[in-house]
Amino acid sequence: MVVNETQQDNDSEFISIEAILARLLRIGSVIATILLGAGMLSMGLGNLNEAPRLFTSGLLVMLATPVMRVLVAGLVFAKKKDWLFFIICFVVLCTLTAGILLGNGE
């Protein structure tokens, strides 16, 4: 994975979309792992007030990571003036938003 990233960095003068998204996903999953790990720790220590909060925040980071990824991918495509893929990203983002809004309804 690391090999691939540096190779792509050298290919183009600006950082490739794969490298940007890989970094974003790695940061997201590391933060989520830390939060969930802290949740497990506090659950093990019997701190039942703190544990659900840590778990919930970990799960929220987990859920936010792919949403952020679509958002960032859309921005990168817009910057590259790749409008077809920008529209695809926008449609995906709209679907996700509709899911959040409609799911809350009933």
């Binding site: 999953s29 792992t33 778990f55 970990g58 679509v70 899911g99 799911g103």
Partner: protein, 163 residues
């Protein structure tokens, strides 16, 4: 999938018009073979239709849609297995989120249950992705085929419940 269990990479893939329009090709460095692999995607529309139904199945049954996506990309769209696996993983992040946010917004997720489970899945996924880049596609295939069989049995069991 079973017939192709020994194969490493797809050969003679002719791209269709839509995959050419969308530039659906790629390349990756395969650590198991030790060389760069270039690939082309074909049969985009049939692939799209299968993905639609895999999304329905995933939302209804709560199973990972990867079990449909990987064979669809591997056998129908003729992608290399490793690229299929990686792409499926990448897509599920978004597709599963669209379902998960609904359950999350409705308070259907119990954090004390989901938290430890997700932590386990995360650690397993980190190990799995590191293993995948090193393993040969033929080995991954041999691991995947029984998994599809098991999931099929479980879906039949859930759907029929005769016993």
């Amino acid at each position: 999938m079973f017939k192709a269990r020994g194969s490493e990479l797809p050969a003679n893939v002719v791209p269709d018009a839509l995959s050419e329009m969308l530039c659906l090709s790629g390349s990756y460095y395969d650590q198991a073979i030790g060389s760069q692999v270039d690939y082309q995607v074909t049969r985009t529309i049939p692939g799209l239709i299968i993905m639609y139904f895999s999304g329905i199945a995933a939302g209804l049954l709560g199973i990972g849609a990867g079990i449909f996506k990987v064979p669809a990309m591997d056998q129908v769209m003729r992608m290399p297995l490793k690229a299929s696996t990686a792409t499926s993983n990448f897509m599920i992040g978004v597709t599963a989120t669209s379902g998960a946010v609904v359950y999350f917004a409705r308070d259907d997720v119990a954090p004390m249950v989901a938290g430890p489970v997700v932590l386990g899945v995360l650690l397993g996924a980190m190990l799995g992705t590191r293993l995948m880049v090193r393993m040969s596609a033929a080995t991954i295939r041999k691991l995947f085929v029984p998994l599809v069989g098991y999931t099929a049995m479980e879906m039949i069991y859930k759907g029929v419940k005769w016993w």
